[in-house]
Symmetry: C2
Subunit: 123 residues, 2 copies
């Protein structure tokens, strides 16, 4: 199903701030670890270095993930979605990805407010 | 690791357009299927109906996924990330999620432009 393609220099749709959302998924556990944002330079560095780079929207600067914590994200492959405005980074994290120390940033479950149940429990 | 919490009525950070990105992951295969955007109403409907709703940025309207194609997304659970600005929907798709007919929207691999290799091949 993979259609290998070289789209870095054209075709990618960065948003009005010059960013594209980047989902990070663990190569081994398949867990979704985080969503970050990349500008063109962060994406270029990610593809050429094999480590994930992002653009920090709060600090407004390039962000080499793990620069401070030491928990880097070693990239296996990068995928582009059908409308070219989101990337998926399949990668191996060298430590917890979340700044809270959790393995993934998605550790809080949202439940249905009136019943207090997960959606599947209503089925 | 799960911290069950009820945050729908507060705490979620919708962006300046009133939207929050929503990653959809297959419950069974763990494949990342798509990234959509939800406004508060789409998220509420997703949690209460057990089927994924989004907000279509191009059509500027609520979008019940599968309304036209019949390929719905049956939601198992919804997770919020550490900084409350992204959700992860764990779900079972009843058919191909992508409008191209692919199972996932992420079917195009991005390769390193100068070498034509995936990042891992450089390691």
């Amino acid at each position: 199903m993979a259609e290998k393609s070289l789209k870095l220099t054209g075709g990618l749709k960065f948003n009005e701030a010059g960013l594209i959302p980047a989902i990070v998924q663990d190569t081994d556990t398949k867990e979704v670890l985080m969503l970050g944002y990349m500008n063109e330079e962060a994406l270029r560095r990610t593809l050429t270095s094999g480590e994930a780079w992002f653009y920090s929207r709060s600090r407004q600067e390039l962000w080499h993930k793990g620069e401070t914590s030491g928990n880097r994200i070693m990239v296996s492959s990068v995928w582009l979605d059908c409308d070219s405005d989101t990337v998926l980074v399949i990668a191996h994290p060298t430590g917890p990805v979340c700044h809270t120390g959790n393995r993934t940033c998605f550790f809080q479950e949202l439940i249905e407010p009136s019943t207090g149940k997960s959606p599947q429990e209503d089925a």
